[in-house]
């Protein structure tokens, strides 16, 4: 199967702007809201959105990185243990609204782990999920995103490949590819 382009650079920019507008509609000035990028790949997207929001609102917005590795439910079930990444949450999320950001929503298991990992930093008043790509009908758990860049119909044999300039790629491009490609 050939690579299929889901979003190109221009479309991605439009999508990100729209997601930011939706966030501002719901969170107004982000006074009680924090953004958490999910490691490893959600972080780049979260940074893009964070920058855009700070520009639009002309103010600092709390931003953190959340690693879910130690909270995964597939430990000892994989051949190779997942590699941990940095968690950096330099604020308390007690009573705050949290926007979790990841690139692709697939089974929902990473989001479950993230909800678990987040609790170590306090009890948030509300948690929302933003994803760039929502793979429809693939969920293992009752988890849904509040903000979605694009819904995509996929097969389990396929994979969504997110290439961002921030990750060192030439252009921002989101692909649908076959799993072992």
């Amino acid at each position: 199967m050939q690579k299929k382009l889901i979003l190109d650079s221009d479309l991605l920019d439009i999508t990100l702007n729209r997601l930011c507008q939706q966030l501002i509609e719901n969170h107004t000035d982000f006074a009680e809201t924090v953004i958490l990028g999910m490691q490893p790949r959600g972080v780049f997207l979260a940074q893009l959105i964070h920058e855009k929001l700070q520009k639009a609102l002309k103010k600092e917005i709390s931003f953190g990185l959340l690693d879910t590795t130690f909270h995964r439910d597939d430990f000892r079930r994989r051949d190779i243990p997942a590699k941990a990444s940095e968690t950096r949450v330099p604020f308390v999320i007690e009573g705050k609204k949290v926007v979790l950001i990841d690139d692709v929503l697939f089974t929902g298991r990473t989001v479950r782990a993230a909800l678990d990992a987040m609790i170590a930093f306090g009890r948030p008043s509300k948690v929302e999920l933003l994803v760039l790509v929502d793979r429809k009908h693939t969920r293992d758990l009752p988890i849904a995103a509040d903000y979605v860049g694009k819904y995509v119909d996929t097969l389990t044999s396929q994979r969504v490949l997110v290439e961002l300039e921030a990750q060192g790629h030439k252009q921002n491009k989101i692909w649908l590819i076959k799993k072992d490609e």
């Binding site: 430990f75 000892r76 079930r77 243990p81 590699k83 930093f121």
Partner: protein, 308 residues
């Protein structure tokens, strides 16, 4: 790659530089975890670990137990002094009985060299060596190197002097292996009677004068005189040892540069290290203890993950 090359951590000798670096990267993340308000993660929730200690220990056993609890593992503790070992049970029988209770990992300290290696040949569970006689103490070496890396940015190219009773020290041997693998220059220093005969073959420099060793090094790892392992007298008296090899604040201040002082504990204050040196700004002894928990969490996490 995020998998160790070994199923057990028996010694530093049989792991690779990549293994050590993977343990350090994982330990960085666990160090962040243990500094949170809630210091626990559920990774090892369905893993049972037995801490089997045939020799006395405070720091290592507490550190391992804390690491296991921070990872949500189930922990059982076994001390030989209060067990059926006293009634004549063999090591293999004792451990097999523990394993029959469905234990996944064994952390063992034993007075005999090679005891964990022997077990590794006969049982299925993952084994972590927490010290075997005068041979190796891998997690101590890992936490020492991790502390140096944290303090100086890296271990590569740094000069580390290991000072004291090298002959009876498992910490010294594991440290030499770990530091050499990470590209450091290593020197051993002590009275000639307390340096093993062929230690130079490990690629370390040898120095008998403690002042020269301190002037050469960036880090001094000071070891305890292990009187309990010494059947004969290796030096005339502790007082004389302290006079020639003891490190104090005055000696440290007289050096032209700032060096870091480490000690694996327990310290015999006033023998190898004076109180004013142990409590000075040179000392990172308590950082070593903190890092010990993070490094042990990383080792247990990586070994448990590979078991599947």
């Amino acid at each position: 790659m995020s998998k160790l090359t070994q199923r057990h951590l028996l010694g530093i000798k049989n792991i690779t530089r990549e293994d050590i670096e993977l343990i350090f990267e994982t330990a960085d993340n666990f160090k962040e975890v243990i500094n949170r308000p809630i210091k626990k993660v559920p990774s090892l929730r369905d893993v049972t670990i037995a801490n089997v200690f045939f020799e006395n220990s405070t720091r290592t056993r507490l550190s391992f137990e804390l690491a296991q609890k921070r990872l949500s593992a189930d922990v059982i503790n076994f001390a030989a002094s209060s067990s059926s070992v006293k009634k004549g049970e063999t090591l293999l029988d004792t451990v097999n009985n523990i394993l029959a209770m469905k234990v996944d990992m064994i952390v063992m300290r034993h007075a005999s060299v090679g005891a964990p290696h022997f077990l590794a040949k006969h049982i299925k569970a993952n084994i972590v060596n927490a010290g075997d006689g005068t041979h190796e103490h891998p997690t101590q070496a890992l936490l020492d190197a991790f502390s140096i890396r944290e303090k100086l940015g890296s271990v590569e190219g740094k000069k580390i002097a290991i000072i004291g009773d090298i002959l009876h020290s498992r910490v010294a041997l594991s440290n030499i292996f770990a530091l050499k693998k990470l590209g450091a220059k290593v020197m051993v220093c002590g009275p000639p009677t307390l340096l093993p005969k062929f230690i130079g073959q490990l690629g370390v420099e040898i120095e008998f004068n403690v002042r020269k060793a301190l002037e050469w090094c960036d880090v001094a790892n000071v070891l305890r005189i292990q009187l309990e392992r010494q059947q004969i007298k290796y030096f005339p008296s502790l007082r004389e040892y302290s006079l020639y090899y003891g490190i104090n604040k005055k000696l440290l201040d007289s050096l032209k540069k700032e060096i870091i002082v480490m000690h694996p504990g327990p310290i015999n204050r006033g023998v190898e290290l004076s109180s004013d040196a142990a409590d000075s700004s040179h000392s990172i002894i308590l950082d070593q203890v903190e890092n010990g928990v993070a490094v042990r969490m990383a080792v247990l996490y990586l070994l448990a993950g590979a078991a599947a």
